[in-house]
Subunit: 150 residues, 2 copies
């Protein structure tokens, strides 16, 4: 498993805010109860998303959160990269550079690189708007994207 509970919760939270995108702030309490997620756990997640700049927050009474971006401009990849330590499918590719000393002789590294690139490309091709509309692109039937040739 590559994407943790934290990342999945982040998406559900963003979807909830997308569905209640009126300009008003929505409290964590409301989101937590609607999604059956601990509020304290959500706090940590929201903190990442806020730092990432895709949420606007207001403090104090009547405080809460709302989207800082248009759902159509927000990719799933962006959201997940804010909450997950790494989206890489293997340890070898975590961090900015490959540190393994055997990297240049490694026959498997190119495979992991391609897989990583494939995953990233797909997640960057889907937006929050797509999810809200229930329009998740089928990579097998999306001409011009490069996926459907396998």
């Amino acid at each position: 498993m590559m994407i943790s509970t934290k990342g999945r919760y982040a998406l559900r939270l963003m979807i909830y805010l997308g569905e209640h995108n009126t300009g008003d702030l929505v409290s964590l309490k409301e989101i937590a109860s609607s999604q059956s997620i601990s509020m304290k756990y959500l706090e940590m997640i929201v903190s990442d998303l806020h730092k990432g700049g895709i949420l606007i927050s207001g403090r104090g009474k009547k405080g809460g959160y709302r989207l800082a971006v248009e759902p159509a401009d927000c990719t799933i990849g962006q959201i997940l990269k804010m909450t997950e330590k790494s989206l890489a499918p293997v340890n070898c590719l975590e961090g900015d550079t490959v540190t393994c000393e055997k990297a240049d002789q490694c026959l498997t590294l190119p495979l992991w690189r391609q897989l990583d690139d494939l995953i990233d490309s797909y997640l960057e091709s889907v937006t929050l708007q797509d999810l809200l509309e229930g329009n998740v692109p089928d990579w097998r039937e999306k001409p011009g994207t490069g996926f459907n040739q396998l």
Copy 2:
């Protein structure tokens, strides 16, 4: 991270056997020392691959392992499925059926399904032979496969 150390070691072991595919048995001791992997850990991995039918073993002195299949007929997906509990990118998709009670209302599930399918398709499109030849297919440049349309 989706693919564990165990799966990566399994691949390296299969590559080693592919590079020494003479018909003779190769001992775990030899593989372990050449790959700097604990022999006891390799035993568990080899056990999975043997049960999966892609290795032939011989016991006793002069015993060891060799490939039971042609490298060109053995996909990376096959190998990894024998050693990893699941290749699914999220918890939700582990096991044969989705057990989550909110599955039918879930706006994220289709995304995970597509991602899972994409990953599986890629890993099944690459063979051990490809790895041995250093010919890992670039999904962006593989006409007719369906990948390169993103």
